[in-house]
């Protein structure tokens, strides 16, 4: 006869499975379902629109065969990577700075997190107010006598250089990255860096040999999140971007809003393409990171 403990175990597991079921259903339906639906539509399956040519790769062929897709991909990658890299460099400096004692650190330590709770839309509005012709910077330059007229201020927004887009991404994501890196530095403590200094390492050596390996996990997690967001972000490039060629998310949005509703399938092909590109880049990034972690003996 089985022991009471042996008999109880399946009951416990069943309870755990039942407890996780609501979350599992939400995950499967919302994420898995949405992904499957996007893939099906991009392959010609949309009977509710009167279209069902599944499996049909013509939407991808049409998309990838046009030069505008590759220009859009370039701009999407450029905005995403440039913003991520700039935010990362600044975030590392900020996080390192926050580990040092200076007057007003507590206040500064709270203030820098402010953009985290402010919506992107506000950031976009701030970019227009600050960087637009007739904005604060142009008027300041005029007031200082650097330009004769506010309209002469260099065009920062609505250009394909994407300064406005990058500025908004950096403004919003810098605190997030700094928070993640600072948390890693705080949990690692100062002792390893101090031990390295006592052993004769200079600041550059301490950063390269000790600090960098400490913060890499924080960098990887925060840059992954920010890069993936930037790849799919729509509002900033739509409002602050240079127009045609648009980024891929804006291109998808235009397809979805076209009067010709059959173009929604083309839009889905764009969405799936964004997912593929982002997924491949993240896979390569993570594989490189895992190789690095293995070299450090952490995995």
């Amino acid at each position: 006869m089985p022991s009471p403990i042996w008999r109880r175990r399946p009951t416990l597991q069943r309870q755990q499975v039942l407890g996780l079921l609501p979350l599992g259903v939400v995950m499967i339906v919302l994420f898995g379902g949405a992904l499957a639906l996007a893939l099906l539509q991009s392959l010609g399956f949309a009977p509710w629109l009167g279209i069902n040519s599944f499996p049909d790769v013509s939407y991808f062929i049409a998309l990838w065969g046009g030069a505008s897709f590759w220009w859009s991909l370039w701009f999407t990658l450029y905005y995403s990577l440039a913003a991520t890299v700039i935010a990362l460099v600044l975030a590392i400096l900020l996080a390192l700075g926050l580990t040092r004692a200076f007057p007003g650190r507590a206040v500064f330590g709270s203030l820098y997190k402010l953009p985290l709770v402010v919506p992107y839309a506000v950031g976009i509005a701030l970019a227009v107010i600050m960087m637009g012709n007739g904005g604060v910077l142009s008027r300041l330059a005029f007031a200082l006598g650097w330009i004769d007229d506010p309209a002469q201020f260099p065009l920062l927004l609505t250009t394909n250089a994407g300064w406005g887009v990058i500025a908004v991404y950096v403004w919003k994501q810098l605190p997030f990255m700094a928070l993640a890196i600072h948390a890693v530095l705080i949990s690692a403590g100062r002792e390893q860096a101090e031990a390295a200094a006592v052993l004769g390492a200079n600041r550059r050596q301490i950063f390269r040999e000790i600090t960098w390996p400490q913060i890499v996990p924080g960098i990887v997690s925060s840059t992954l999140i920010c890069f993936a967001f930037n790849m799919g972000a729509f509002e900033a490039p739509f409002i602050l971007g240079g127009g045609f060629p648009d980024t891929l998310p804006v291109m998808a949005w235009r397809y979805f809003n076209d009067a010709d509703y059959t173009l929604q399938l083309q839009g889905m092909a764009v969405v799936v393409s964004i997912g593929l590109v982002a997924g491949m880049m993240i896979a390569v990034y993570l594989a490189t990171y895992r190789r690095y972690e293995r070299s450090l003996g952490r995995v």
Binding site: E191, A195, A196, A197, V198, L199, G200, A201, E209, R298
Partner: protein, 355 residues
């Protein structure tokens, strides 16, 4: 082998907002000497090490190595060794790379690094563990790696900040003996920090007893234990019976009343009637069981301590701790005669009585 270095701290002071960490420390350490800083948490022991290492800046004072002030040097230029309480090993480096770190950052050629790392691994008896990572080591092994990593740079001064605090009792004993042997073999000038008085007694040439940012006494372990300068030092360096009483006349000489008869006073400078505090260590009192009513006091309780039995004995208005080496444990309530060698009684004047 590093040249033996003398160290002198002159008026070393450091304050943090709202707290004085060090209030003007003067301490001289001879070449090859091991001096222990003994004191409770927050007394300034670790701060002193950090100032010497250059990890914190002093407010005042000088740090002299062989007579030269090193206070203005960068941390990396001081050539001191500091072993941290929690080892501070680099978790992403193997044992070999941890130990080699100090040489690599100084640009030592690879061949020399390899041979010195091998030598260091042998010195700390970890020859076969070079390719492991710190998380694959035990506490004692990590401690040895930290020690090897420090020693390989041939520091002028070795500093150990409560290095055995995270180890269990057996390992602590082993590591104490290991470190002391190594320190003597290499002739390293060493500062050892601990709050464990037994550890301090065992390992030190001299002990500096610290409290509230000050050194209360610097002396050899025997002197610190038997001739503490104050009741505070007596309490910090072992179990102590501190008995209040008065100086009394004993014929031509002076004595002190302890509750089981006056004991001749061996110290000078007292007058009859002076209120004093007398120190008698528990093992300095001898007891003999006697019939009820014939003794100086009666046993209140007892505890088996392994090597000895600790009794709590009431004699007159005072209660004494007494450590007796005996296989026979006396019962509670037993009357006892109490004797103490006057040479083992220290008396503190009123000014030295307070903590």
């Amino acid at each position: 082998m590093p040249a033996m270095t003398s160290v002198a701290l002159q008026g070393l002071a450091k304050s943090f907002p709202g707290a004085t960490a060090l209030a003007g420390i003067d301490l001289t350490i001879a070449p090859g000497e091991l001096v222990t800083l003994l004191g409770p948490s927050g007394c300034g022991k670790s701060t002193m090490l950090r100032l010497i290492a250059g990890l914190d800046e002093r407010d005042q004072g000088a740090i002299l190595f062989d007579g030269h002030d090193i206070s203005g040097l960068e941390v990396s230029e001081r050539n001191v060794g500091l072993v941290f309480q929690r080892y501070a090993l680099f978790p992403h480096m193997t044992v070999r790379r941890n130990i080699a770190f100090g040489l690599r950052v100084r640009g030592t050629p690879d061949t020399e690094v390899n041979s010195r790392v091998n030598e260091a691994l042998d010195t700390v008896q970890l020859g076969e563990l070079g390719e492991r990572f710190p998380h694959q080591l035990s506490g004692g092994q990590m401690q040895r790696v930290a020690l090897a990593r420090t020693l390989i740079t041939r520091p002028r001064l070795l500093m150990l900040d409560e290095p055995f605090a995270a180890l269990d009792a057996d390992l602590r004993r082993q590591m104490r003996s290991f470190v002391r042997d190594l320190q003597q073999r290499l002739g390293l000038t060493t500062i050892f920090v601990t709050h464990d008085q037994a550890e301090a007694m065992e390992i030190s040439d001299r002990i500096a007893v610290m409290q509230a940012g000050r050194i209360l006494q610097v002396d050899q372990p025997e002197t610190i234990y038997h001739r503490p300068v104050s009741a505070v030092v007596a309490r910090m360096t072992g179990e102590a019976n501190l008995v209040p009483g008065s100086v009394v006349g004993l014929g031509d000489a002076l004595g002190v009343e302890l509750g089981f008869g006056p004991v001749p006073l061996r110290q000078n400078g007292f007058t009859p009637g002076t209120k004093v505090l007398s120190l008698i260590r528990p093992e300095a009192i001898a007891i003999t069981p006697v019939d009820p009513g014939d003794g100086h006091g009666a046993i209140q309780s007892s505890a088996f301590m392994g090597q000895s039995i600790r009794y709590s004995i009431t004699a007159g208005p005072n209660t004494f701790l007494v450590d007796a080496v005996s296989t026979r444990r006396l019962v509670d309530g037993q009357s006892v005669l109490m004797r103490v060698d006057p040479a083992h009684v220290s008396v503190f004047p009123p000014a030295n009585n307070q903590a």
